[in-house]
């Protein structure tokens, strides 16, 4: 827009993006499908700040005094819980949505730093299993590629009820990405627009889920931790019910969490922000006396070590990253600017993961595009990123006087907006006021 003509006033209601959306809908007659998470501005971790130690708290010496980062996931019932070196894990992303090489790279990067990675809606690939020291196998409504051999090979099982980008929605993978191999793994005709179920086919509600979890435990001889993943909506109740159903670990994914293909209207208008979900989940666990006994993994918009530390201070035991991991692999790399522009997008904006033409070779099944991506180099980049996130979180934790990331607590935080203070249930900076909790 020209900035010289101040007589032009853009409508806040009908801004250019809104106008473009109406025009696009009118031209195509079909809703917009895209990848990524909610793009709207939301109260988030950036609205929280840490209170570093000074007189009333002692800090730890950076680089000299230990600040541990390890976490055990699944200690409630499983014979073999996961013991991870860092609480930053890799969220579920499917082979199909991602190329086999990208999945391999996620496994390599996670294994290099001693954390876990997760399958997705499409089964377990040998590349991924082979390169992942700790692999979580998702159990989804579609059950694509689900088989007991892979279940036994997994290190943990994640029963997926929903994801933050689309709580209440099923999977979607458009025909461009249903290659012969993807189709074979999912028992689908090649090239169709796959729409998977949003409800599990053989259980409904928490009482059934308890029986389902028991079946999965019986099949795997009670060895594997069982996670229950929910998209953040009625999080307080969902976490309580997940615990009632026998979960070892609850995963809560806020609306900033990404997807490979979902309707834009769904991504932007369903679910609640990650920040609002965590305190609800922690309250539910505390009321059941299960906080730290059933571990809480939080995902949805985790981008750096500060976000990790903030999520953990609010009560999470670990976090999961998806979008940030893809960026670390090479997604939206400015060096591919010309190619993104040729697709009608731009580096830093690209979200057409659904159409399989990713010039970075990550969200594609096109063999030529996929071949551009080097899983060894990509895995190493991811490992670097995971190390940086962990070190950043340690830096903050030491400043708050904590010898373990899990020692971070809500009392270490303040909010810089009223909305964030209300959602995160920490005081507005400079006051003792937590909106909705009384006090001033």
């Amino acid at each position: 827009m020209s900035t010289s003509n101040w007589g032009l006033r853009e409508s806040a209601t009908f801004d250019r993006q809104t106008i473009a959306a109406i025009q696009r809908a009118a031209e195509t007659g079909i809703y917009d499908i895209r990848g990524g998470g909610a793009k709207r501005a939301l109260p988030h971790f950036d609205d929280l700040l840490f209170l570093g130690a000074s007189m009333s708290r002692y800090p730890l010496e950076g680089y000299r005094e230990r600040c541990d980062t390890d976490v055990v996931l699944g200690s409630r019932f499983a014979k073999f819980p996961l013991h991870l070196a860092t609480p930053v894990t890799i969220a579920g992303m499917s082979f199909g949505a991602l190329s086999g090489r990208a999945k391999e790279a996620l496994g390599r990067g996670a294994s290099e730093v001693g954390t876990s990675t997760t399958t997705g809606d499409g089964g377990m690939t040998p590349e991924e299993r082979g390169q992942s020291k700790h692999l979580v196998y998702q159990y989804l409504p579609s059950r694509y590629g689900m088989n007991p051999d892979d279940l036994r090979k997994a290190d943990a099982i994640e029963v997926v009820l929903g994801q933050g980008a689309k709580p209440g929605g099923g999977g979607m993978l458009l025909g461009q990405k249903i290659s012969e191999r993807v189709a074979g793994m999912r028992t689908l005709p090649q090239g169709i627009d796959q729409r998977s179920a949003s409800r599990h086919p053989d259980w409904t509600g928490p009482d059934d889920l308890a029986i389902k979890i028991n079946e999965l435990r019986e099949i795997t001889d009670w060895e594997k931790p069982i996670y229950v993943k929910v998209g953040a909506t009625r999080t307080y109740y969902d976490v309580k019910l997940a615990c009632h159903s026998g979960a070892d670990v609850v995963v809560v994914d806020g609306m900033q969490g990404g997807t490979a293909a979902t309707q834009d209207v769904f991504i932007e208008h369903v679910g609640i922000p990650t920040l609002a979900a965590i305190p609800q989940a922690v309250q539910a666990l505390q009321e059941l006396d299960l906080h730290r006994k059933v571990q809480l993994v939080v995902s949805g918009g985790i981008r750096n070590g500060a976000d990790v530390a903030k999520a953990m201070a609010l009560g999470a035991d670990a976090v999961a990253i998806g979008s940030a991991a893809l960026i670390a692999l090479g997604d939206n790399d400015p060096r591919l600017a010309a190619e993104y522009e040729a697709l009608g997008s731009a580096a830093g904006f690209y979200d057409d993961f659904q159409d399989g033409r990713d010039p970075a070779g990550i969200t594609t099944q096109d063999p030529e595009l996929a071949a551009r991506f080097d899983p060894v180099a990509g895995g190493h980049r991811l490992a670097n990123f995971l190390r940086v996130m962990t070190m950043e979180a340690q830096t903050i934790a030491r400043a708050c006087g904590k010898a373990h990331l899990q020692h971070l607590e809500p009392e270490d935080l303040v909010a810089i907006s009223i909305e964030a203070a209300a959602m995160a249930r920490v005081p507005l900076a400079g006051t003792s006021w937590i909106p909705g909790q009384g006090g001033f």
Partner: protein, 231 residues
């Protein structure tokens, strides 16, 4: 060799399933196992992966013979929700009726329900063969991807909704067909296939001409604005 007998009224389910998963159940000796007094227990004989014969002497709860591989499981009673869910291979026979989601998402093997099956029989089936002696409830073969479903009785509403490549054969009436599911011509290969399935399930002698084949019209395989009314 005498069959191995477990009494579920005195032996914990965990002990029974652990024994059924034991490494020595591996085909060298085909063993017969009897599970007595199941009394509606859930997750009976789940996760088997050996060519053994398991007889369950009574009614079972949810997910009996779930994820079965290789084993031949006979349930002398009724089965609860999700019998033989996600079965990969082998055979599961229910002498009585089955509750909802029988054979859900199963990838292979043969599931025989001699009585009726409730709603969602064969939901998201991925290659299993299911033969039902009686009727099936609503939404059966919902999003069914592969395999064959034979119904010797009637089918409830919404049969084969959003079906992919599963073939359905129904002898009786169909209350209604789901989106994209249509009646199809019964060619010679289908008659042969149906006869083989009925024989495998122990139902020889049916008049094959009384059956109708149903499958996907394949009109919803791609998103298109003209299809929105069907969703």
């Amino acid at each position: 060799m005498d069959p191995l007998i477990f009494d579920l009224s005195t032996t914990p389910l965990r002990e029974v399933n652990a024994a059924l998963h034991a490494a020595d159940l591996d085909g060298e000796i085909v063993r017969e196992i009897v599970i007595d007094k199941p009394a509606g227990a859930h997750s009976v004989a789940v996760g088997l992966d050996a060519p053994v014969k398991v007889s369950v002497e009574g009614h079972v709860g949810y997910y009996a013979a779930g994820m079965n591989q290789q084993a031949e499981v006979v349930i002398a009673g009724n089965a609860g929700t999700g019998v033989a869910e996600n079965m990969m291979s082998g055979t599961v026979v229910v002498r009585g009726n089955a509750s909802q989601s029988a054979g859900a998402t199963a990838h292979g093997g043969l599931l025989v329900i001699e009585g009726d099956a409730a709603a969602r029989c064969g939901i998201s089936m991925k290659g299993v063969d299911i033969v039902v002696g009686g009727n099936v409830g609503h939404s059966s073969a919902f999003m069914a991807q592969a395999g064959r479903l034979v119904v010797r009785g009637d089918a409830g509403e919404g049969l084969g909704d959003s079906i992919y490549e599963t073939r359905i054969y129904v002898r009786g009436t169909v209350a209604s067909l789901g989106a994209d599911c249509v009646a199809k011509e019964m060619r010679a290969e289908h008659l042969e296939e149906l006869a083989g399935l009925l024989k495998a399930a122990g139902f020889e002698g049916d008049d094959l001409s009384a059956y109708t084949r149903y499958g996907s019209a394949r009109s919803l395989y791609h998103f298109h604005v003209d299809n929105t009314g069907a969703y």
